[in-house]
Amino acid sequence: MADTQEIIAKLFPQATFEEGDILTVEIPDAQWHDLAETLRDNAELSFDFLMTIVGMDWVEKMGCIYYLTSTKYNKRIAVKVATEDRVNPALTSIADLWHIAGIYEREVYDFFGIIFLNNPDMRRLFLSIDWKGYPLRKDYDASPETNPVPEDNERQSDFTQVYTRDGEGKIECKEERIFAENDFVVNIGPQHPATHGVLRFRTAVDGETIKKIDVYMGYIHRGIEKICENLTYPQTLHFMDRLDYFSAHPYHHCLCMTIEEAAGIEISRRAQVIRVMMDELSRIASHCLFIGTFCMDLGATTMLFYALRVREQILDIMDKTCGARMTFNYECIGGVMQDLAPDFVDDVKALLKIIPQNLKEYDKLFTGNVITKNRMEGVGVLGREDAISWGVTGPSGRASGWACDVRKTTPYSIYPELDFEEVIRHEGDSMARFKVRMGEIEQSARILEQLVDNIPEGEYCVKVPKVLKFPVGHWFRTVEGCRGTFGVYLESDGTVNPYRLKLATPSLPAAAVVDSLTRGDKIADLITIGGSLDYIVPDIDR
């Protein structure tokens, strides 16, 4: 940590530092772009992965916290950039340095109204274009009169805005077309069988060839981050089921960990083991569903049923213990809601027995098929550098040769004690993404095998005060969800409600990268690529 601080301090004397488990640097906006470039390109720093941009409203000023990770040195850093102008807040964009930054900046603009200068596409991301106000600002007027439920069709724009600063320091706005004037734009979604939810791709095609895709998100944006600001900490947990509903357990795990760390709660080993087992069970279930739906997208409907059989068995296990097949709401602050069902161990053992033979069956029916190979091999190749720049984590990132498994890079819970491999492939195509997930099912099964006979006795939930209050501060924690790195940023102002709760989800980058992966490919490839990236729409929209 010290050298990072030294290097930055030498090059940027204006920077101020705040020590913590993650080093936080504060820098004026004028130097921000240079600092970002240095952080990314300096060989001793190489913070090449932009994890998330947390928009913040500190009332006296507004700004962003950029969370960066060095994939080379496995270090993290946070950079705070703020502006005091509340009327026309503007920061410098870093969209030219990280591909994904452009999308994250649009999100911040959407919720805080902070304009990012030089961002080539400064539109709202989730809210409709005629939305009044910026909801995550602390002075936002949330009354229904400001934004009544629209009675007519949603207004659409074919234009995007680019803001630049002219010579005198004034901000200029320029309108630019999203598609060329004569493009044949096919509207894939929001109601479409292959978008896996209400996501919309405005696709410009030339015959069957895709020219450009404009990903249009926000159809199921529920403003979870905003809602959470008015809830107490235990109440915020319920929303973790409703992001990526297949990663409900890992997501719960993440927020619980963050809150427990902030409150200084130690949880029992039994609870740790139960949590990890649930995480891995959901990972298997999620990947099974991926295999099923992905194959169905490619037209191999039969595979769906083969894959769902295994998932069904897992859901039954969940049902017995958590009382629900989805939206479990099982992990709670201090442990888990209730103890394991009596036949949990037997059920898991039965499951572990059938997994290898099922995987073999999938390979036989699907993976080796010549049509499958033609459809998937070399389709949507995402290189390692691009995967990092786009922030595509999880199995999709690992298929590009990027070792990004949080369970290995920044281990949490009992993962350091467990023996499992990080499945990595280097092809970066759709086939690799498929195979990584097949491999991860095996690895998750391996973890379960190690734990199923070693569930320690003890209390499943420690006593936690009814009303939780933390000291002023901020925390950022990540876990490996089923689809990639899930991060929770929590800022507390000492009250019972979180001051800001930012959820950094893996599906947003996965959906954002679709455009660059599909250009020049066929419409059918869009389905392959979208399916292989395996995004979940509520996870994108939040």
């Binding site: 095609v205 069957e208 169905m296 037209g299 191999a300 409907t301 049923f305 066929k522």
Partner: protein, 358 residues
Amino acid sequence: MFDFSLFTNWIHSFLSSFMPEWLTITTECVLIGVALLLTYALLALFYIYFERKVCAAFQCRLGPNRVGPMGLLQSFADMFKMLIKELISLNHTDKFLFALAPYLVILASMLAFAVLPWGNGLQIIDFNIGIFFLIAVSSIGVLGILLAGWSSNNKFTLIGALRSGAQMVSYELSIGLSVLTMVVFAGSMSVGDIVNAQDNLWFIFSGHIPAIIAFIIYLIAGTAETNRGPFDLPEAESELTAGYHTEYSGIHFGFFYLAEYLNLFIVSGVATLLFFGGWMPLHFPGWDGFNAIMNYIPGVVWFIGKAIVISFIIIWFKWTFPRLRIDQMLALEWKYLLPINLFNLVLMVLIVVYGIHL
């Protein structure tokens, strides 16, 4: 074998005994039309049920099992549902072409029924260019699909229709050439002659390697021709929602649906005719006892049975393979099937010329 022409001739003489010539022919046409429509509907219903059961078996499910014993009445229920559904009319479409398209599709498959050899003498029309007629009328279907896609004023249907056009025009070549291979072998274009030529042995056995190659190519191209998986690109559900018939509802949609299943039957029927002897029972030269026993099974059963077995193979394809991509599908036809087919045709000609077949 029982000759159905005895029966049809008896009807003809019975009718003409008290009717003038023109009325006899008109009555016969009406009778045939009714019989054809009935067969058509019953076959389609059977096929829908058959496919659902087969697909369920592949997918570890039960399939329809609530309506009637073993779900046998399910497709009747579906048909009535389809019949009473509203025909939704859309704005900004070409109303005439939009309504015409499903009829063209169903017309094509119905015309093809005219030359199928259902049994000995049980054929609507047997003329000397029967096979030619079959290929010609089955190409009308693509017109209906193109019209449906074009007139719906929807980008998905348009893409579906264009895909379908490219696909059908390409695979018609393969069908045509593999049929031609067998026509060369049979030495006739008349359906009756082709069936009778297989009295001793079905062409698939007597035609050596070229007949087997032609059969495999025919099966692939036939699957593509019927727009079924893995060639179901025109209606690729996960890409184009429902392709060219996205905008259709009620019985108009039902027509497309029926035509799809009937085309499946026609493709299987023609395969039966060309490679498996049509209604001709399984005969082996010299096995007189065996041949005589086989003759006890009626020709109609042979024909429909063989067609269903081939349909089963095509259904099997659909529920096993993922879908091809448009460029891969065209590459398969133009780069592989077509050259192999041309080579195969030459091979067949050589075999016929030198007489080295069974």
